[in-house]
Symmetry: C2
Subunit: 326 residues, 2 copies
């Protein structure tokens, strides 16, 4: 088996390589594709050194699977070359997520959808994955009809440069130097930025629209009504989400907790509560603080999960594992 | 006129002194009361030096108004002495907020309530004030029936020590020293802590319960259904709140924006969005990002306000001004 990683040097691409190694996925070749700038560098993988190659339309020949960790425009440009080469493209970008013939998959929730692909499978948005991992078990008890979410999103969502910017700003403030945001639209150190992505036209950001659009597709729940406020916070890796939801029938706290306890890939925190720091650099999502929500007539849930792992790389590698085992 | 500040050396007490000076409130005596530890120190006020005195039951003789910036237990202990001395107690603590004969006042919203006091007027919880300042104008268009809120609360909510702890932790991390939280239940630097206050018995924290209990009283809206998730974030001074609300009748974005534009003490941010950094150390609240909320069948609002000023000290001083002018 031959696997490629497109965008191998970014935060998600590097994590994909690490996940493949941690999960001991047996591959004859790992082809690491990046921009010309990184080409020629070598990185370790399963005891050998792998040389990073520049991405070209011909880069995908002979590959069985390509894990994509690039922006939507690059994913769109490369997808035809990947599928023409006969490889299955598991794409972390937003490029194809809402296309009717592209499965959008969180393996623990709708893994079977991945089997009906036509060469491309999309990995959902990071906040969407983490939120759904926490609430899908409740949805299996009774269909979720309404969902109000507010996010607390880590800077890793903007990649390596986002993480660097937070550190640089904290250091600039300490040393009395000017803070000059480049990655984020404002200073993120000691601040919250309630704007991620761009305007969809009605004041809702692209990031906020994803939870509804992708959540309805993943849960096979086309009528679910969703509102979301996405906020960047000065946290490095784990996203947190405060979610209020109502279901077709009233689900009790005990039922919701039991459903989460039984679910794969999510851990119910029964003493205390999940926090970004405690949940970083782990593959599972953590849910807790489940309580009655009198305003929405349902439940409130708090959840945290590592943005780079389950929010992106781990989920993509789990899609690959699902395909390999089915 | 003689004014006392009880708890004069804390973050809120110091800000009260500054607000009295900024607003040029004419007083013959400012009596600054604190613990024995601070007694004897002097601080500047309107061009003179005022000596801090140790608080005793006899401290309030001759005062007309006492602004309280102490914890609920101290407020409860001192209240009988304050009222016995004939002073009006404007108390920032949670001690009396829900008592039937104690007005709970945000002057721009229910200032008239302050006139019906029996010696004690309570200043609401900081997140409650900031949220209500943003949504009360909408409530005046059509009664709010349901409110789902998630907060992004600054460390100043835990006073001077809370602000110091964030700085100390960032420095400890930089220098490779251990982080030892004392004020907060966990490391707040680069983290979010979804727990403020203590458990009310059903998983809801005391801080979360305040928005509903105090909000219903301030808005004279006993049937409003409220759910809230309160989260501490690594921000110094301004609280932010993501609020989804529905009203008796559908209120349009344009109507909500116009109502906020016309309201006192709150500014509609029409380009961009309010952020904690931009709104710190100012007396007004900032609201923005008003959009339709299909999940709750109403509107989503994002707001920010300085926790020490409008969330506490400014509001208390404004209650005093309201009493003086009516």
């Amino acid at each position: 088996m031959k696997i490629g990683i497109l965008g191998a040097t970014g935060a998600v691409g590097q994590q994909m390589r690490q996940c493949l190694e941690e999960r001991n996925i047996n591959c004859d070749e790992l082809r690491l594709l990046a921009s010309a700038r990184s080409a020629g560098k070598t990185v370790p993988f399963m005891g050998r050194e792998v040389t990073i190659q520049e991405t070209t339309p011909e880069s995908f020949e002979g590959l069985d699977y390509v894990l994509g960790a690039v922006e939507a425009d690059v994913a769109k440009e490369m997808a035809p070359h990947i599928t023409k080469a006969g490889a299955v493209f598991i794409d972390n970008s937003s490029a194809f997520r809402l296309e009717a013939d592209v499965p959008l998959v969180v393996p623990e929730i709708n893994g079977e959808d991945a089997l009906h692909h036509h060469g491309i499978i999309s990995n959902p948005n990071c906040s969407t994955i983490i939120t759904l991992m926490a609430i899908a078990p409740i949805h299996r008890v009774s269909k979720i009809t309404h969902l109000v979410a507010s996010t607390y999103q880590a800077v890793s969502g903007a990649g390596v440069n986002g993480m660097k910017e937070l550190g640089d700003e904290v250091e600039a403030i300490r040393t009395g130097k000017p803070v000059e945001p480049k990655v984020f639209p404002a200073q993120i150190a000691y601040n919250c930025i309630p704007w991620i992505g761009s305007d969809t036209g009605n004041g809702v950001t692209t990031e906020e629209a994803k939870l509804g659009n992708e959540g309805r597709k993943i849960l096979h729940n086309p009528d679910m009504k969703v509102s979301c406020t996405c906020v960047r916070v000065p946290v490095y890796r784990s996203h947190s989400i405060s979610a209020s939801l109502s279901c077709e029938r009233k689900v009790s706290i005990a039922e919701a907790e039991e459903a989460i306890r039984k679910a794969d890939g999510v851990k119910l925190v029964e003493e205390g509560y999940p926090m970004p720091l405690d949940t970083s650099d782990q593959d599972i999502v953590f849910a807790g603080r489940i309580r009655n929500d009198e305003a929405i007539g349902g439940l409130t849930v708090w959840c945290c999960g590592d943005q780079i792992r389950k929010g992106a790389a781990t989920n993509a590698v789990e899609i690959l594992e699902y395909l390999l085992s089915h």
